[in-house]
Symmetry: C2
Subunit: 404 residues, 2 copies
């Protein structure tokens, strides 16, 4: 059992409760927490370790959407337009994949952990990252990706998917959760989607999919037009999308742990449908901006989490970098309110996206916690300062075990 | 005379010309520049030093608006609302000023230089930064600030202003340019403004002023209402602004080197008037966002430069940090176009703001240059990659002299 006190205990609950000089008791789960008055009386024989005069203790960050296998990209993939980017992905993906090895994957996982993230959702296109994810100290939801729509190859693609899933399932543990990713409505054939989702339902696996990331995708899915239509004609000799955006969403009925990534161009009715499905949205603002997308409206939404996406469309997998950029990118929301919403999205909502009971300091939740020091004079600026200031993560606990 | 070649020569002219494998010849000024074909023939007896396979050579960045004296702020001043922030400035400014000494000012200047900035505009409220600015290797336009509107103290304030200006003028050199700052329409008395501007005109000094930084300021100046009206009643027993925003702008007639800082809430007609005055606008997006302001529209404007403001309302004086944040903050402009506009604002336009002939690689311009390495595969992403990638500034030249 551990007994900690910190200057600022940040629960990351819906109301963004902050306890000045807060106390926490935990083993692998949170046993109790609160202010000095109650906790010191209740545990008067125990010695609480003080994390320091400017310390913050809060839930570890959760990054629900990363592609670890594309980390060799720095300037290889062209930014600015989604379809141009996609063309460079097709052209250079083999070259990029050749450049990444186990040590490159391990380094990313290590950097992610040290930057204060305790759980990730890793989308795996090739399975090259599986062993690293299995042995990482991070909690990994490992999404095996189904992609491809050539009818003649569907059986082969599905077989490959099943093979990787079988291997992943054989390593399932409390820190490694196999899951299913459907790449997107424009890139994954209908029968492949149906086969993979059938398995996901049978085995109750988390599922994720990219959805309406770009204007080009929307034009293609809904009007069979635009630059993505030209792309499909040129590269795949295809002049109609196999599926509409609405029809795609309907395929995910009855999936319990479900997320749609990006949704920048989803309509009000599509966003409402996603809410009705009890599905989460993963918002990756830096990636969206680099690929010519627009900023998702995060106001008044209660099912949005924050993620970085991969180095294929970002320059950092550090969630505090993403939080800081998002704090400046989103406008027309009062600063501290915005900072609190973003931290909630990066912890509580992101954990919910992966179906975990972490991301909030709450009795019974897993004790995935981080601590660091910041300078803070005004409590009305605490979340802003947590995001704004450079900080070194001093302590990391996963399931109550001290990792760093 | 120096002869350099770099992989990417970035001129920072209006068309954002990029010369692949570009050559430059300079002493204190740029003598010649161009591509391999012409330059190698013309200077065939000379040996051009290659800066490296991934090198960029471009004009040094210019940061036209900094307050060096408030650098002790980390979380002391409250962010989120301009008027709340202003109240904390009044409450804590003595405490903050007490914490800053010459070594604190020197360190900022050194960090600014090392981050690739070769010229700054420093707004001095107290004169504590004068000696550091005089001996810095940076080019400094040193703005002595006039602030205060208590009629009974105007003579004293003006005397103090004159004393500091006299000292600054006695140190005037090619790297240290004394100048005049009028704090703002809401904080500087009309007669003080007039006296100071008279001197500025006589001595042909650059002039700058904060203008319509916040909605609160606009409401106060134009309607004598809003939270700034409450502030003036409480702190200064004043219920009417002494001047309107339009009247304030008119006072600066015939100032040759003139800039207005922020202008977030300036109307179309006010922005047009500023253009008619041939005045520049300094855009400090991070500062604006932290103080609850809105983002200035930078599209279609040809008189906007980029600046950081001071650590009183920013966490960094590094212009590359400001550029990166601005790249993600501004929306609805194509990514690379935006990156080029921002780099142009941070060099060419910022230099123009301070009345210097730097900020562009152009024959006859001063050779203030920086070089660094980046990875770049697509020329259509060069400006984006210059802003996006972490980089160490390898070489810095000011007036052709190698500083680093």
């Amino acid at each position: 059992m551990r007994y900690l006190k910190s200057s600022w205990l940040v629960l990351c609950d819906k109301n963004f409760t902050i306890i000045k000089d807060g106390f926490v008791v935990f083993d692998d789960k949170i046993i109790d927490f609160g202010d000095q008055n109650r906790l010191q009386k209740l545990y008067k024989s125990k010695k609480f370790v003080h994390l320091g005069a400017n310390s913050v203790l809060m839930p570890g960050l959760v990054n629900p959407h990363i592609h670890l296998e594309f980390a060799a990209n720095i300037s290889t993939l062209q930014y600015g337009s989604f379809t141009l980017w996609l063309k460079t992905v097709l052209k250079y993906r083999d070259e990029l994949i050749d450049k990444i090895d186990t040590s490159g994957i391990d380094k990313q996982l290590d950097d992610i952990l040290k930057s204060g993230t305790t759980s990730i959702g890793a989308i795996s296109s090739y399975g090259l990252d599986m062993n690293s994810c299995i042995k990482s100290k991070l909690k990994v939801t490992y999404f095996i990706e189904a992609i491809g729509q050539d009818i003649s190859k569907i059986d082969e693609l599905f077989e490959n998917f099943q093979k990787k899933l079988k291997k992943a399932l054989s390593f399932k543990s409390k820190n490694f959760t196999p899951a299913v990713a459907i790449h997107s409505p424009y890139s994954t054939g209908l029968s492949l989607i149906e086969k993979c989702l059938k398995i996901a339902k049978e085995k109750n696996l988390p599922v994720t999919a990219h959805f309406l990331e770009s204007y080009d995708e929307k034009q293609w899915l809904e009007h069979n037009s635009g630059v993505m239509a030209e792309f499909f004609l040129e590269f795949f000799n295809k002049n109609r999308s196999s599926i509409t955006a609405d029809k795609f969403l309907e395929l995910f009925k009855d999936i319990k742990i479900l997320s749609f990534v990006h949704c920048c161009y989803a309509s009000k009715s599509q966003l409402d449908y996603i809410i009705k499905q009890k599905a989460m949205i993963v918002h990756c603002p830096k990636s969206n901006m680099l690929l010519g997308g627009k900023l998702l409206d995060i106001k008044d939404m209660n099912n949005i989490s924050l993620g970085t996406d991969g180095l294929s469309s970002n320059d950092s997998l550090n969630m505090f970098d993403e939080l800081k950029m998002a704090l400046f990118m989103h406008q027309n929301i009062e600063l501290e309110t915005k900072a609190r919403v973003l931290l909630y999205m990066a912890t509580n909502m992101a954990s919910k996206t992966l179906g975990q009971n972490t991301g909030q300091i709450k009795v019974g939740h897993k004790a995935d916690l981080i601590s660091f020091d910041i300078e803070n004079k005004h409590i009305q600026n605490l979340a802003t300062n947590i995001i704004l200031q450079e900080k070194e993560i001093k302590d990391i606990y996963i399931d109550g075990k001290k990792i760093i």
